[in-house]
């Protein structure tokens, strides 16, 4: 029991000792027995999927057409670093980069040979395209029954809309999922540019798609360990985000209500909002009764905890009362710089226990400040990588801390076809003269 433990042996120190990312390289990797072919094209979701597996130890061969994946060009303002856009650079990690032109039949034979060795294939072409090349799951499973074949897109590989021929995209995932509908400020009396359904700023449509694909692949891997059988994994990025749209569908079924966008208000919990302070904003929440009472003490309006408008969570979540509460909170918070608001909250809750301490805050932080935060560096959330090709760059590290098989960041990215010689020799026995011939034919 904890009482017998040496007080010096704190959980935090122990957990840090066990999971510190700096010690990752001394430990084994969870997926180091997997060979993954990532043949995605124009879809960062595929890249995210193979990044997740590569961080956890899989050997990933990233296959691009000889001119490179168009996703190398997706970058803010079209900026490139040594010829590669920032989006691709962030998700090229730990992968071997080779080229192969699947438009050519000789290339398809080479791909099929690689597929015989592979545990996992990740592809993002329009549904049916790989199949029409003779490289779909129904053909490849004949030569490799253990193969796990993941196909990513917006509309999936089956069902009426899969046949429509309509391409998917990052923003289509967001729109079809229902996320855009409920995100943003409500329509104002006069139409405005900003009172509209609003996308989230990052490529969340692709990140959700890629992460769910990695999850599906690992589920299939567990099944294969049991049975020896491979399978196909069909991932719709839109449906992935739907899983995360809380009570959207159940509320409609149960109550006939459609969830609409409300800016920073919330119809299920309040206060649960961003508030304006001097020089910035912070998140502030206190939605159970005990925490709400604490919050009213913090803002020096204890009597408000008894106000009939705010005395229960049902009352606090009506539109008028949320607006009234928001006003009350900002009346107080505008008196202080944002850091002081946060400090006052932390001080107050350190004197409370249990549910009364559930006043929760967090500064709305600009990326430039996020990256300065020492805590994230200590935790390996940001890492500097000194790459032989791309130089020293800073990027986000793997999201997991694991005691036995920690993930790791090994290298950044590679130029187009940088690993052709190694990979084609290793898996196909093709030496330099044969590669030169294939290059001449435009196969690689």
């Amino acid at each position: 029991m904890s009482d017998d433990r040496d007080p010096k042996d704190s959980w935090y120190d122990w957990a840090r000792e066990q999971t510190d990312p700096r010690k990752a390289s001394r430990k084994p990797e969870a997926l180091d027995d997997l060979l993954v072919l990532d043949i995605s094209y124009g879809n960062v979701g595929g890249l995210v999927c193979s990044s997740m597996l590569a961080e956890l130890g899989a050997q990933v061969i990233r296959i691009e057409p000889p001119a490179g994946d168009v996703a190398r060009d997706y970058s803010p303002f079209g900026l490139a670093h040594q010829g590669t856009g920032f989006g691709y650079l962030a998700e090229g990690r730990n992968k071997y980069h080779i080229t192969l032109d699947l438009q050519k039949s000789a290339s398809r034979e080479i791909f099929a040979t690689l597929a015989k060795h592979a545990d996992v294939i990740i592809e993002t072409y329009q549904p049916g395209v790989m199949d029409s090349w003779g490289l779909g799951y129904r053909q490849l499973r004949e030569i490799n029954p253990r193969l796990i074949y993941a196909a990513l897109g917006t509309y999936g590989q089956f069902g009426p809309r899969a046949r429509s021929g309509r391409p998917g995209s990052e923003i289509s995932n967001q729109a079809y999922s229902g996320l855009v509908h409920i995100n943003g400020e409500p329509e104002h009396l006069e139409p405005t540019e900003y009172g509209v359904p609003t996308k989230v700023g990052s490529w969340y449509g692709w990140y959700a798609e890629g992460m769910f694909a990695a999850y599906g692949i690992l589920l299939a891997l567990n099944f294969r360990t049991d049975t020896g059988k491979g399978q196909m994994v069909d991932v719709s990025g839109a449906e992935c985000i739907m899983k995360f749209i809380d009570y959207n569908l159940s509320w409609f079924h149960m109550d006939g209500k459609v969830k609409n966008r409300l800016g920073n208000y919330d119809i299920a919990v309040f206060p649960y909002t961003f508030i304006r302070c001097q020089e910035g904003y912070t998140f502030l929440a206190a939605y159970n009764d005990e925490a709400f009472e604490t919050l009213m003490e913090i803002i020096e309006r204890p009597e408000m905890a008894q106000d009939p408008r705010f005395s229960s969570f049902q009352h606090r979540t009506t539109v008028e009362n949320e607006e009234a509460l928001q006003f009350l909170l900002e009346e107080w918070s505008l008196r202080y710089p944002v850091d002081e608001v946060i400090q006052r909250v932390q001080e107050a809750i350190s004197k409370k226990e249990g549910r009364a301490a559930a006043v929760v805050t967090g500064k709305v932080t600009q990326p430039a400040d996020v990256i300065q935060e020492q805590n994230w560096w200590d935790r390996g959330v940001f890492q500097k990588v000194n790459d032989p090709t791309y130089g020293e760059l800073t990027l986000q590290g793997p999201a997991w801390k694991m005691s036995q098989t920690p993930p790791r960041l090994k290298w950044l990215c590679r130029p187009i076809g940088a690993d052709n010689a190694f990979i084609y020799l290793k898996y196909l026995g093709l030496g330099s003269s044969q590669l030169a011939a294939l290059k001449q034919e435009g196969v690689i």
Partner: protein, 445 residues
């Protein structure tokens, strides 16, 4: 075989009607969920949908506080839709793990389980004598997933965190929304859910290692850190250019055109991801010459800020004169991406989503017909499936404790009297439907 069209083949391969005739990916994986709110329960839910046996352990009486979060205070048959959507296929038991006898019950369950998921404040489980150090002694193969706001050993380890804390502190909010407006809190619990998905992926990787070596491990996942990982090129942009990523509303500055536009009726997402798709969009706009215009003829040219802005404006002016449905048809015939912004009602009636089981109707023994989003990835041989909804507090106590731990009715009664276990309090959110007959849904041990 080759004569069958790809889509006839894939429709048959994934047919939803055959799901219950197929095996499950996580058969034999028992998961203990010691979680409240969203982050932890969603993690366990992702596993439960693929066949893991998830035992959700709540405090006796009131249970998971998420039971009382309800949209506009709405409860349906005494349960909240905000609670049901992340609690499927689970067994609901209660244990006060802070008591000595509760700790014993938990250890007995751990001895027979593969995974434990908790989302208490860092160090809480350890202080109650049931942390990873204690439980791995009982079961060295245990995969212990600790979910928290900032991780198990961060300088912020003592800070409570909700979803929006992570949105705020990760930079996620700072890059979402329109310039000059209040920073926007995203309308879903995106920090919780993204963290939960990371946790589920980590658990699967740890499970693969365990199957090779028999070894369990400790996993630590933070909401804020998960979101930071998903912010694409934000960090490279910041460090390479030393410029701050600003707000661009509904326009993507790293993929052009890609954004949300107003149509004559409703809003629509439109994108062209390569030159071929862009040429298609130009034809649909009846401006085929734009594809050859040097401002727009390559992906990189289209991303120059002036060009991207000009293009966004042109697409906006075109889209607003058409119905969203017309634009979607043009996207199909010309080969670019267009998708109407849809809501829950649209999903509910969407034939495509219904056929894919993405919108899934099933019969719950306690609540009757329910409709929820189905499993995320679709697996052809070991698909996920929806069985039942969340249940009242402690609903499966007798079944689980008697079958797994061999406890007698007499022992269960004693533990209930001591409030170590126990069923629901008489409160909406915790209790069964008012017209429940006392039998439906109960599993006989």
């Amino acid at each position: 075989m080759e004569e069958q069209s790809y889509f006839d083949w894939s429709d048959a391969l994934f047919a939803v009607a055959k799901i219950f005739g197929k095996p499950e990916a996580l058969k034999g994986v028992r998961v203990l969920e010691l979680c409240t709110r969203v982050f932890g329960p969603v993690t366990a839910d992702l596993l439960a949908e693929f066949g893991a046996e998830v035992i959700k352990i709540e405090l006796p009486g009131v249970g998971d506080l998420m039971r009382y979060v309800a949209p506009r205070g709405f409860f349906w048959q005494n349960i909240s839709p905000a609670f049901t959507h992340m609690n499927h296929n689970k067994y609901h038991v209660t244990i006060d793990i802070r008591t000595p006898e509760g700790g014993e019950l938990l250890r007995a369950l751990v001895a027979k389980s593969t995974v434990l998921i908790e989302n208490f404040r860092a160090g809480s489980m350890d202080s109650w004598g049931v942390g990873y150090r204690d439980l791995s002694a009982v079961n060295p193969g245990l995969i212990y997933q600790a979910n928290s706001g900032f991780g198990q050993w961060s300088v912020y380890k003592d800070r409570p965190s909700y979803d929006a804390t992570s949105q705020a502190m990760s930079g996620f909010s700072a890059i979402t929304g329109f310039p000059g407006r209040t920073p926007l809190k995203t309308g879903i619990w995106i920090g919780d859910c993204t963290g939960a998905l990371f946790a589920a992926i980590g658990i699967m990787a740890a499970l693969h290692h365990r199957r090779k070596t028999g070894q369990g491990q400790l996993l630590d996942v933070s909401q804020a850190e998960g979101l930071i990982r998903t912010l694409d090129w934000t960090w490279l942009y910041q460090t390479i250019t030393q410029k701050e990523r600003a707000l661009y509303g509904n326009r993507d500055i790293s993929c052009s055109p890609s954004g949300v536009f107003r149509s004559r009726e409703g809003f629509i997402a439109i994108a062209a991801l390569d030159d071929q798709q862009f040429a298609g969009l130009c034809r649909a706009m009846q401006r085929p010459e734009l594809a050859a215009d040097s401002r727009f003829s390559t992906v990189t040219a289209r991303l120059a800020e002036d060009h991207n802005r000009a293009l966004y404006k042109m697409v906006a002016e075109w889209a607003v004169a058409l119905d969203a449905a017309e634009i979607e048809k043009l996207a199909e015939s010309h080969g670019f991406a267009a998708q109407r912004v849809v809501n829950a009602r649209d999903h509910y009636h969407d034939e495509h989503l219904r056929q894919r089981g993405a919108v899934c109707e099933f019969d719950d023994p306690l609540y009757g017909k329910v409709v929820e989003y189905g499993p995320g990835p679709k697996l052809s041989e070991s698909p996920g499936r929806m069985r039942w909804l969340a249940k009242p507090v402690g609903f499966h106590n007798s079944y689980i404790f008697r079958t797994l731990l061999n406890l007698t009715e007499e022992r269960l009664r004693q533990l209930t009297e001591k409030q170590v276990i126990g069923t629901w309090v008489d409160r909406v959110g915790a209790k069964p439907p008012d017209d429940w007959n006392g039998r439906d849904g109960i599993i006989q041990p």
